[in-house]
C-alpha cells in the first residue's frame, strides 16, 4: 500500500475516493427523452460503505453504470481516483462454462496473472468467501448465495478497490442474505474496499452502510442523506436498525406517493 501511495502522489488528499459532480444522464432526445439522473452530487471517502436506496426508476443502475465507466454522463463529471472497479449484479453473472475456480481465474487471467499464480490466488479467494472445496463445481451446481460469493471472489480477483453492487442479494432468501451481510462486511473491512451498494431494501441499507443516500424517482435526485451512527456489526433485526429504517421508509413512501398524484 505504501509503495502505491508514493507512486501516485497526484491523487488529491481530500478524498481519494469517488466524487460525482452535478452528474446528469438523459436517455434519448427531444420530448421523449428520459432523465434518469439529474444533477447528482455525491462524494465517497476511501473505504466508505455507501448505500443508495430508492424506488423503481430512480436511476440506481444508471448511477452504477456511470461510476463503472460502462456509460458516459450527459453532463457533469465523475472522479474515481483511478480506483480499480468491480461490479456485481443481482444475478451472479458467472460464466456457466467455467467452474467456480475457473470464473475467479479468468478475472486473474484478464489482469495478466500467470497460470500457477492464478491457481493459487483463486483457491485463496474462494477461501476468503469460505467456498474452499467448491472450486470444481459449476455455477449451476451452486446455490444462489454461493454463486454470489463466487461473484464476490471474482470481484476481489480483479483486485478491486471500488466495489459497485447492484442489488446483489435481492434474489436470495432472508437467511442467506443475513449471513452474506456478515460476509460482505468482513471482506469490506479486511480489504479496505470502497463500496456503493444499491438496494431497494431499506433495512439492508441500514444494516450495511456508513451512509445512506435516498434517491427520488424520475428524475433521480438526492432526496436525503442519513449517516448511520451505530456500531458494527449490526443486526438487521435490532431496534436501532429498525428505527432508522422506519424513518427512511417513511420518506421513501412519501416520494413514491408523489408520483401517484
Amino acid at each position: 500500500m505504501k509503495v502505491m501511495e508514493q507512486a501516485r502522489p497526484a491523487v488529491p488528499e481530500t478524498t481519494g475516493g469517488v466524487s460525482l459532480d452535478r452528474v446528469s444522464k438523459r436517455f434519448g432526445t427531444g420530448p421523449g427523452a428520459v432523465v434518469a439522473l439529474d444533477g447528482l452530487t455525491l462524494t465517497l471517502d476511501r473505504g466508505e460503505f455507501v448505500c443508495v436506496v430508492g424506488a423503481s426508476g430512480c436511476g440506481k443502475t444508471t448511477l452504477l453504470n456511470l461510476v463503472a465507466g460502462l456509460d458516459k454522463p450527459t453532463s457533469g463529471t465523475i472522479e474515481t481516483a483511478s480506483l480499480r472497479t468491480a461490479l456485481m449484479f443481482q444475478e451472479a453473472a458467472l460464466f456457466p462454462w467455467l467452474t467456480a475456480a475457473g470464473n475467479v481465474e479468468l478475472a486473474l487471467r484478464l489482469r495478466g496473472v500467470g497460470r500457477a499464480e492464478r491457481r493459487r490466488q483463486a483457491a485463496e479467494l474462494l477461501g476468503v468467501v469460505r467456498l474452499d472445496g467448491f472450486g470444481d463445481r459449476r455455477p449451476h451446481e451452486l446455490s444462489g448465495g454461493m454463486r454470489q460469493r463466487v461473484a464476490l471472489a471474482r470481484s476481489l480477483a480483479q483486485d478491486a478497490e471500488l466495489l459497485l453492487m447492484d442489488e446483489p442479494f435481492g434474489a436470495l432468501d432472508a437467511m442467506t442474505r443475513d449471513i452474506l451481510h456478515d460476509e460482505l462486511e468482513n471482506v469490506w473491512r479486511r480489504r479496505g474496499l470502497t463500496v456503493i451498494f444499491v438496494t431497494h431494501n431499506v433495512r439492508e441499507a441500514v444494516r450495511l452502510g456508513d451512509r445512506i443516500v435516498l434517491l427520488t424517482s424520475r428524475p433521480g435526485r438526492i432526496a436525503a442523506e442519513f449517516a448511520v451512527g451505530f456500531s458494527r456489526p449490526r443486526r438487521i433485526e435490532s431496534p436501532e436498525v429498525s428505527g432508522l429504517a422506519a424513518t427512511i421508509t417513511e420518506q421513501l413512501r412519501a416520494e413514491v406517493a408523489r408520483h401517484g398524484r
Partner: protein, 299 residues
C-alpha cells in the same frame, strides 16, 4: 446467537466468533441433498433397452409385411437373408473400401464446410453490413435441396471428387454459419457486461466470453451441418460415379443396376447405421456440453 441454527452444539463447541462460519457451512451443506447414484451398468441398460425394443419392433413389422405376401420376396426380401448378406459383406475388402471412401469424402467435405461456415458466420456476426447483405442469403441456401446443385457441380468439375466435395460443402456450410451467427446473437447481455467489467475487450472478449457462450448453438449448427453434408454426399455418390472407386453410394447404385435387392437393402442399412453412429457422436458432444452448463439434468 442463532440457537435455531446450531441447536446441538457440543460442550466445547465453536466459539461465538466462529458461529458465523458454522452457520455459513450449515447453509451450504443444506443446499446439497443426498445424491442418488445408480451404477454405470444400470444407466447403460436404461438407455439401451428402449433402442433394442424399437429395433425388434421394426424388424417384426418388416417380417410381417413380407409374410403378408404384399410383394414377392425377390422385390422385398425378409430381414434374415439381408442380415446374413450384411454379415458376409462385412468380411470383404470391397465393403470396407467402399465405407472408407465414403467416410473420407464425408470428413473432408465436412471439415471444409466447418472452416468456411465458421469464417462466414464470424464475419456476418461482426459486420452489420455483411449481415444485411448476405444474412438472408445464407438462410436461403440452407433451405435449398443440395441435389439441385449437382447439374452445376458436374458442369464445373466433371464427374470428379471435386464435384461431390463442392456439393457437400455447399450443403453443410450454411447451417454451420447460421448456428454460429445465432449463437453470437443470443449471448446473454449480462455475460457480455460481466466480461467487459473484467476487462475483456476485442479478441479477448471473443475468446473468453462470446465464443464459449455461443458454444451450444455452434454445436447444434455443426450437428445440423453434418446431417446436410451426409445427405448431400449420398445424393452425390448416386449421381457421380467414379470408375474403380467403390463407395457406399456406388455400391447402392450397382445393386440397383443388377436387380440385387438384398444388396440394395444391405447398403441402405449401412447408410442408416453410419448416420446413426455419427449422429450419436454429435449427440454425446451436445449432451455433455449441456450437462456441464446445467441446461439439462443428469439422465
Amino acid at each position: 446467537m442463532d440457537v435455531d441454527l446450531i441447536p446441538h452444539e457440543p460442550p466445547d463447541g465453536p466459539r461465538p466468533a466462529d458461529a458465523f462460519e458454522v452457520q455459513l457451512a450449515g447453509l451450504d451443506a443444506l443446499e446439497f441433498g443426498e445424491s442418488s447414484a445408480s451404477s454405470p451398468a444400470q444407466r447403460l441398460w436404461s438407455v439401451t433397452w428402449p433402442k433394442v425394443a424399437a429395433l425388434v419392433i421394426a424388424l417384426a413389422i418388416w417380417q410381417s409385411v413380407v409374410w403378408s405376401h404384399w410383394k414377392p420376396t425377390y422385390v422385398l426380401p425378409p430381414p434374415g437373408p439381408v442380415f446374413r448378406e450384411l454379415w458376409h459383406d462385412a468380411g470383404t475388402v470391397l465393403f470396407w473400401r467402399a465405407i472408407g471412401t465414403t467416410m473420407r469424402r464425408a470428413v473432408v467435405g465436412f471439415a471444409i464446410a466447418v472452416v468456411l461456415g465458421l469464417l462466414i458466420g464470424g464475419a456476418v456476426a461482426r459486420s452489420r453490413f455483411l449481415r444485411s447483405a448476405v444474412g438472408s442469403l445464407i438462410t436461403g441456401l440452407q433451405t435449398m435441396p443440395s441435389v439441385v446443385w449437382f447439374p452445376l457441380a458436374i458442369l464445373l468439375f466433371k464427374l470428379s471428387e471435386s464435384a461431390i466435395t463442392f456439393v457437400v460443402v455447399i450443403g453443410a456450410a450454411p447451417s454451420i454459419a447460421n448456428g454460429f451467427v445465432g449463437g453470437i446473437d443470443h449471448v446473454p447481455p449480462l455475460l457480455l457486461r460481466s466480461g467487459r467489467m473484467l476487462g475483456a475487450k476485442g479478441v479477448r472478449l471473443w475468446r473468453h466470453v462470446i465464443v464459449p457462450a455461443a458454444m451450444p448453438s455452434i454445436v447444434a449448427g455443426l450437428k445440423q451441418g453434418w446431417a446436410f453434408a451426409w445427405r448431400s454426399l449420398m445424393a452425390g455418390e448416386l449421381l457421380v460415379i467414379i470408375g474403380h472407386r467403390p463407395s457406399v453410394g456406388e455400391r447402392l447404385n450397382d445393386a440397383e443396376n443388377l436387380n440385387d435387392v438384398v444388396g440394395l437393402l444391405v447398403y441402405m442399412l449401412v447408410i442408416l447405421i453410419l448416420g446413426i453412429a455419427v449422429d450419436a457422436l454429435f449427440g454425446a458432444a451436445d449432451r455433455s456440453l449441456r450437462r456441464r452448463w446445467g441446461l439439462i439434468g443428469r439422465e
